[in-house]
Amino acid sequence: MHDVTLIVNGVPRHARVPARRLLSDFLRHDLGLTGTHVGCEHGVCGACTVLLDGQPVRACLTFAVSVAGHEVTTVEGLADGERLSPVQRAFAECHGLQCGFCTPGFLTTVTAFLRENPAPADDEAIEAVAGNLCRCTGYQNIVKSVHRAAELMAEEGP
């Protein structure tokens, strides 16, 4: 067993876990942060995407013990208190989700993407979400949400 402490959404969180504990299960089972969803568990679907030191990674392809001490942002950490983040509001406004299972992975992925590229072209927005699977929406409204989030962020400033 290993003592693992991660800075999750700005707060140090600790658990004693076996080395084989995936970061996705560490967040969900050990810390109770069930916002991160687990889909395929082999890196294809993108539902479990979290931000590791600000960069999107597959939580299901990361051992918690391997990233001890690092900063992790989950979907629970995107909002500012009760106020949803621009990306979250854009997805709600543009109907960028239906069942919502894939949504946490899209929200984290798009949040990091827009930080790097605040005014994406259409093909860039499509490329940005290409690593996340959604079986409900057909992606059109997700791409709209990416553009809307970019607008909201530009309006509201940093």
């Binding site: 080395a19 995936l22 890196g43 990674v57 051992f63 391997s66």
Partner: protein, 270 residues
Amino acid sequence: MKPPSFVYHAPATVAEAVEALTAAGADGKVLAGGQSLIPLMNMRLAAPGRLVDINHVAGLGEITAEAGGVRVGALARHAEVEASETAFAAQPLVRRALRLVAHPAVRNRGTTVGSIVHADPAAEMPAVLALLGGSVRVRGADGERDIPAAEFFTGPMESSLRTGELALSVFFPAAEGGTAIVEVARRHGDYAMAGVAALVAPGHARVACLSVGPVPVVVDVTEAGGDWARAARLVQEQIEPEADIHATADYRRHLTGVLAARALKEAADA
């Protein structure tokens, strides 16, 4: 799907990592980015008894310009190598190929050296290393050695890396002439059904094909003399593609010919 149990080692230095790997023997496996290893473990296709996590080893993440090319350290993530101006200046094919590797979230964690050591014949970076005639620097209990790409890939997911050896870096040579890489995948970011990396220099042309053999298949097409349709036929004669759920062998052969002509033309124009 949960990975099987393993004993975890987190060495802080290369010497400690080699020691742990040597002690683990055939039961040991290196964990770097884990983007190939952890899916295999989750699916229980791999069950190493001991993992030597090199993520805490200092000095393995460097990307360094060297005479005649660029050296990429074992912990340099795909995304870092892709963004590296040093790597791009030395060998632009590296960046172009990395943009075809999986998706950004996987490239943020996965390492270029790890992808090469994993030696998947469907992967881009082994083909790039084979095309360029690069090498892999490894260290074992007996010291360091450089393994040329032509001797490194020995079979599907098999390399000439010995038990107890740690890959420290790979060297991508600069190349006189132009390079290109093209592929066709069912979905963007998937492993390609077929793909071709090409190098065209004055008086010389060759390609490396992926997904059409047990290792990256390098074919010298110099004798085609710039007739890329003829070069494509030469390539098609040299490959032995297999069928799987994504494509028949004939379709892979057809695709590889088309892609070879396309990649060679692009490389010649570059």
